[in-house]
Symmetry: C2
Subunit: 330 residues, 2 copies
């Protein structure tokens, strides 16, 4: 069940979703501002976990598991996750495996969490070998999106979330580039739900959500998760749009417009061609020199490729785009 | 897909189930006898993991995860588990979370694995706080039951599996106590599948499979998993049958017959009343002095209790049965 509204943190909704024993697991950065008060309202036991992408680790999984095991929580325990996408991802992962799954309520506190991470039932942790390599598909009992939280969000955090919203615009919603901010948030959530409902396990259509992420994840891996996810995805979207153009699918005009749409993102120049290819999995262990990309043929349309919604691209086909990237972001 | 037959380990079935990259994860005790040959036939990478109930640990989960991550195995990798219930449980758990789930083939090598652990899509590991506290529901692509493996099974292993078959007899199949051994194995697998299909996530009917397990798991916990699962379950079935009688559901005659059916099991006398109650979760952390039991009202019938298929039993209601247990197994 999805709730989008205001004043949820102080209202009656969250207590009504937690009828029995409750565990609140929150990003430690929210401890003083929100978490302690919410725990009190929910009569919940509180566990704070590390902040940021580095929180999606084996260590945090273990921390949460041990907290639950030591507390002897039963099957009727509701787990509430309060934080950004890293918090909801790792808490969701443990919730899906503790006693083979306990009720889960997600309260995303960042724009990125609201429009992307908390929506769609994917859970995960990262490993040194790549992002989201361990995880499950697990639907929460409720997702509670409190739009009031966006008011106090720093600009950098807002851009971080806007990257996924812009991506959604590029693959499915040309109208997104005209909408007012709050409309955009609501529409982006609804659009993601519509796609996920058609393909929950990512056998086809859902793959389009990975537009910008082949390059984006590689950039994140290279930066050891120091570069924000949204910034990496934004850069990935521009570069994969360039690739769509180079391969003859996207017009030059559309690419130019996309490039200018992303100007507010202040994309960084941190990049090494060799590391990037390695991080995309072209090292021997993985593949045979082909990498799969989602591509677009106009603003607002990912190419279906006969239901695969992605296309293998040979390393040689990437050359032009990598040249352009080197020339542009240096 | 379930396959029951003979000569599967050397035949064409298993290679046909592993069309691409394959990882074989086997109980180390089977390394020389079966695992190395099978790995060769499947062109699979082989990982051996510890034997026995102690293998279902955080450490083994971690061992398998690291093996997969280091090997860079992709989504099309088939994981094959070769071993008893502990092997299929822990391998299944990791298979369900690696890249959010990869194809899984279970090859149970013990009677207990064939009739119980490998059937029904439950995966798990144990923790110091109790059995199967972490796990998932995850359906394998195939379960391959090679009846030839039963020929070389030690008597103790056979009894271990017979305990779950007898339990099935007590809750659902009075005819089981008349069948010939191989018929019994096939019928027991089919009966478990029939129950699980009606209630995959254990919201009701499937709970009857836990008959004998409230006491059984407690005995296992107390023994630090040194007592075989089957023996604990057999003992649990006799004791919970006694409880069914004490609470007025089961006739004295039926209980007497059950008690004599279990004579071949040579039930041990290892038991401490206080530890047993603690291990069943009557310590403060868990409950309010009530423990849930599946109960029977005749041989071959678990009591529905209006769709709950279990009934809370107060500690005081257990007294008579605990007295009897002390007098009988000392």
């Amino acid at each position: 069940m999805l709730y989008i509204g205001r004043q949820f943190l102080g209202g009656e909704l969250l207590p009504s979703l937690c009828p029995q024993r409750t565990v609140l697991i929150a990003d430690v950065a929210l401890k003083m501002l929100y978490a302690e008060k919410l725990a009190e309202r929910l009569k919940a036991d509180l566990l704070c976990i590390p902040s940021g992408e580095m929180a999606k680790t084996f260590e945090t999984r273990s921390l949460i598991e041990q907290f639950l095991l030591r507390g002897g929580y039963g099957r009727d325990t509701t787990m509430v996750a309060l934080g950004g996408g890293t918090t909801t991802d790792v808490v969701g992962f443990v919730a899906s495996t503790y006693l083979r799954g306990v009720p889960l309520v997600l309260v995303p506190t960042t724009l990125l969490g609201m429009v992307d991470a908390a929506i769609g039932g994917k859970t995960a942790i990262n490993t040194e070998f790549g992002k989201n390599l361990l995880g499950t598909f697990y639907q929460p009992k409720a997702i509670v999106v409190d739009l009031d939280l966006l008011k106090t969000l720093p600009e950098a955090e807002k851009r971080n979330g806007l990257a996924e919203i812009f991506k959604m615009g590029l693959i499915a919603r040309p109208d997104f580039f005209e909408l007012e901010f709050e409309e955009l948030v609501r529409a982006s959530i609804q659009q993601k739900i519509a796609i996920v409902e058609q393909d929950p396990q990512e056998k086809g259509l859902r793959r389009i959500l990975n537009f910008g992420h082949t390059i984006g994840h590689a950039l994140e891996t290279i930066s050891h998760y120091q570069m924000p996810h949204g910034l990496c995805v934004a850069m990935g979207c521009v570069i994969e749009s360039h690739l769509s153009m180079c391969l003859g699918y996207l017009s030059k005009g559309d690419f130019k417009r996309i490039h200018s749409l992303y100007e507010p993102f202040q994309l960084p120049a941190q990049y090494n061609r060799k590391d990037l290819l390695a991080a995309m999995g072209t090292d021997k262990k993985r593949a045979e020199g082909h990498i799969r990309f989602v591509l677009i043929d106009q603003i607002g349309r990912a190419i279906p490729f006969e239901g695969h919604y992605c296309r293998p691209v040979a390393v040689e086909e990437l050359e032009k785009t990598l040249d352009w990237m080197e020339a542009t972001y240096h």
